[in-house]
Amino acid sequence: MKKRYWRCFVCNDIHIGVRPPELCPTCKVVHAYVEITAREARTILGLLHEGKDFEPEDFRKAIETFTEGNPFMVNPDRERVDGLIGGILGNESRHGLKYCPCRLMTKEVEEDLKIVCPCNFTIHETYKDIEKGECWCSLFIKR
């Protein structure tokens, strides 16, 4: 299924997906999304983007919030996580996205999106059906 681009006509939220959201998560207006082009989406996101990259603590907070309510958490080994976050943000700086430092880009977009942190590690053999499962790089571990 090909993903398309959608814009909320009230608050300009951008959604990328096969269909528009019923309810805008930001302004709560229903049936608010109209289809736009990829170029329009890039332009709007570029205009709204403040141009500031995450500092390590920003990313740490983002992934800690992400894990809330999930059966996994950020690895409590602070030193290990610091090193991984350094690698992830370094990869973003040099290669454009937060690529996992324990895997390598193939240079195929669809494949490489699978290694952007957080990746969908819940389907990986290092996590799924394993009592002490973790993502490949061990940034996330089962609770």
Partner: protein, 92 residues
């Protein structure tokens, strides 16, 4: 003895954990391992990509590090593995 390559990432904790084991392997088993860092060296990254069919078949469908390659035997193993297992695989 087959040529051995270790593809690794500078910020990968599993790779860091494997370096002392590779040091030991070189010292005790006399095996020379060429270590190629792939996130800070594009030539090394391309070298790893050139083994993509072999690596992905052995490593969950992805280019994961650390990955060890036996070039002549066309064999690969990846991840943080115990020394004895690495030695047995490397010496086969």
């Amino acid at each position: 003895m087959s040529k051995l390559i270790m593809f690794h990432g500078a910020e990968c904790p599993h790779c860091r954990a494997m370096h002392p084991l590779v040091d030991r392997l070189e010292k005790e088993a006399g095996i020379v391992v060429e270590r190629l860092e792939v996130w800070h060296n594009e030539k090394n990254a391309d070298a790893m990509r050139s083994y993509r069919p072999l690596i992905t078949a052995k490593c969950g469908g992805q280019l994961r590090v650390p990955t060890f390659i036996k070039v002549e035997a066309n064999d690969a193993v990846c991840g943080e593995i115990p020394y004895e297992k690495l030695k047995e695989w490397a010496s086969k």
